[in-house]
């Protein structure tokens, strides 16, 4: 089923029920349907055609949710980008996707305008919450459009999402997901979480990320209520909000669990309505699990594993948590996840190999990158097999255990960061002779990013100068937290700079308090 058809179904069943809460603003199912219909009408009248890419540079909010459904109703492909994406990268993505339209908000207008200026494709720039004239206003597109519901496109195999993630080459890869892919993943998730119209799920996860998008789609599919929040920076406020909206589910990344665990004055029973919390996007240390269970004794904890390429791959039923605290569980319903050797053959329990995923949720490939697609997807008798690039093992009962990644991607705050992408940003700064980037273990964020730099002779760059430069070109979560100056960097026999595991570990631990 197409995602906007799921929304239409919920509209029929739950018309006046609240679909979305942002701050004090509530949107019913009927309103969400009407607003997204109006946006779709406007998109079409502005030239958006079936299959066109529409970029979204939006923070969590009403505009983002209305945009997703409006874009789908117009038959187009939603391409949500992290709101801190800078102009240069944005311009690259505008051109690689040949975007027809870019929806942003006043706060990010400067980066968006600079990117459109720089790009060869010239997408129409649409700005929400803007006050100045001379630009297409998001609110006008909704106010000025007809109310009539649009007929829905029939083909569920149409592309729905293009999500850009860090690739090991340092260039962002656009993961292509069809309506079938998203619907398969979200139907499976809703099944094991037993989601229903009674659910109220607050989410601070960015809607540019698969984990955030699945919250929106599962809630819209079951008729639940999504409560969007911008950040978890003030954990106490966020937890108060949880109690206030009577949250029944709450998606976490391990960094958030660490912050909740640090809250010493959270009496047990603070959240009587909270049925479940989920953890994904990075491995949850067992110590976090134990403390979180003490903090939330009446709440089920679901440990999950996934990647953008299939949205969600595995989950651990909460009743297995005590017995297998290190496992990420088994394949989500209707899919397969297993460990294979170099020839693609399943390995026996206890043997480390690569995790592969099969099922209707596996992506269609990477946008415009046939080679990367060929490496990641292998045709099988039943369809496509996704190679995750993650090393796993399986126990006697078939439960899966994450061992490590097979590339050097850094996981920080639940986001994947390619060292090469950060290194490229470093090399663009005059005065840097050599650069390498590694992850430093951090008790809260999993890893933080550290740059190792050799300066050109006579260059006078400080740590602050280098971080400032990176913050100007990279998304916030990719910016190094610290810089270490070296006289030289270790090289492999082929001349490649390579930090050994000891190299990054022997330096001091992450300095985030």
């Amino acid at each position: 089923m197409r995602i906007e058809a799921r929304l239409r179904d919920s509209v029929k069943r739950f018309a006046a029920k609240t679909a979305l809460v942002v701050g004090d603003h509530h949107l019913t199912y009927v309103e969400l349907d009407a607003f997204s219909d109006r946006l779709a009408h406007s998109l079409i009248s502005h030239g958006v055609q079936h299959g066109d890419r529409v970029l979204m540079l939006l923070e969590n909010g009403t505009e983002a949710v209305v945009s997703f459904f409006g874009i789908w109703k117009a038959g187009a492909v939603a391409c949500p980008l992290h709101p801190s994406t800078k102009a240069d990268k944005l311009a690259t993505i505008i051109d690689s996707t040949d975007a027809r339209l870019l929806i942003t908000q006043a706060r990010h207008r400067k980066a968006a305008s600079a990117a459109v200026e720089k790009a060869i494709s010239k997408p129409l720039l649409v700005v929400a919450q803007g006050e100045d004239s001379g630009v297409q206003c998001f609110e006008d597109m909704i106010a000025g459009a007809p109310d009539a519901p649009l007929p829905l496109f029939p083909d569920c195999n149409d592309l729905a999402l293009l999500i850009h993630t860090s690739g090991s080459t340092g260039l962002p890869k656009g993961v292509m997901l069809s309506h079938v892919n998203i619907d398969a993943a979200c139907t499976a998730i809703a099944r094991y979480l037993k989601n229903s119209a009674d659910d109220v799920v607050p989410s601070v996860l960015p809607l540019s990320h698969g984990y955030g998008i699945t919250q929106m789609v599962t809630m819209a599919s079951v008729g639940g209520t999504l409560v969007l929040e911008k950040s978890f920076a003030f954990p106490r406020k966020a937890m108060e909000r949880l109690a206030e909206v009577r949250a029944t589910g709450f998606p976490l990344v391990p960094a958030m669990a660490a912050m909740i665990n640090g809250m010493t004055d959270l009496p047990p029973g603070s959240f009587p309505h909270l049925r479940y919390v989920t953890s994904a996007a990075a491995a949850m240390p067992p110590a976090f699990i134990q403390r979180l269970q003490q903090r939330l004794p009446q709440t089920d904890l679901f440990i999950m594993y996934g990647q953008t390429e299939c949205l969600r791959a595995t989950y651990l039923p909460p009743d297995e948590l005590e017995r297998r605290p290190l496992s990420v569980g088994k394949a989500i319903p209707g899919t397969r996840a297993f460990v294979v050797d170099e020839d693609g053959l399943p390995v026996p329990p206890g043997v480390v190999g690569e995790l592969v995923i099969e099922g209707p949720h596996v992506m269609r490939g990477y946008w415009g990158d046939g080679l990367a697609t060929m490496r990641a997807l292998q045709p099988t008798a039943q369809g496509q097999r996704l190679r995750t690039g993650d090393l796993f093992s399986m126990d006697e009962d078939g439960f899966l255990y994450f061992i490590s990644r097979s590339d050097d991607i850094i996981k920080t705050r639940g986001e994947k960061v390619s060292p090469q992408e950060v290194e490229r940003a470093l090399y663009a700064l005059p005065g840097i002779k050599e650069a390498a980037v590694g992850g430093i273990d951090d008790p809260i964020f999993g890893q933080t990013i550290r740059a190792y730099v050799v300066l050109c002779e006579g260059a006078m760059l400080s740590e602050r100068d280098i971080i400032r430069h990176c913050a100007g070109v990279l998304e916030d979560f990719m910016v190094p937290k610290s810089v270490e100056f070296r006289d030289a960097l270790p090289r492999t026999p082929t001349g490649k700079i390579r930090l050994s595991a000891d190299e990054t570990r022997s330096t001091e631990q992450g300095n985030v308090a």
């Binding site: 801190s84 400067k110 911008k230 004055d265 100007g472 916030d476 985030v512």
Partner: protein, 84 residues
């Protein structure tokens, strides 16, 4: 004392976070809403305040009312240091 605190806080923000923002932020503007500070920034800020002023920022004090703008921080620190 308040002025000295304000200067120290403003300098820390300028030095560590301000390059994220498109424009200057006023003393009253929310550092989160303007994108100057994110969740890791809040933790860095707390570490800085604890180190600089020899205080412990309690869990219940980690709220926007105390930390989300330069003026909020200044009044929070003034009260906190006066009580110490």
């Amino acid at each position: 004392m308040t002025e000295a605190i304000e200067d120290t806080v403003r300098e820390f923000i300028a030095e560590n976070f301000l390059f994220r923002a498109d424009a200057e932020v006023s003393d009253e503007q929310s550092l989160l809403d303007t994108g100057v500070m994110d969740s890791t920034g809040v933790l860095e800020l707390i570490a800085f305040l604890e180190q600089t002023y020899g205080i412990t920022v309690a869990d219940e004090e980690i709220v926007p009312e105390n930390l989300d703008s330069i003026s909020n921080m200044t009044s929070y620190l003034s009260t906190k240091l006066a009580a110490a």
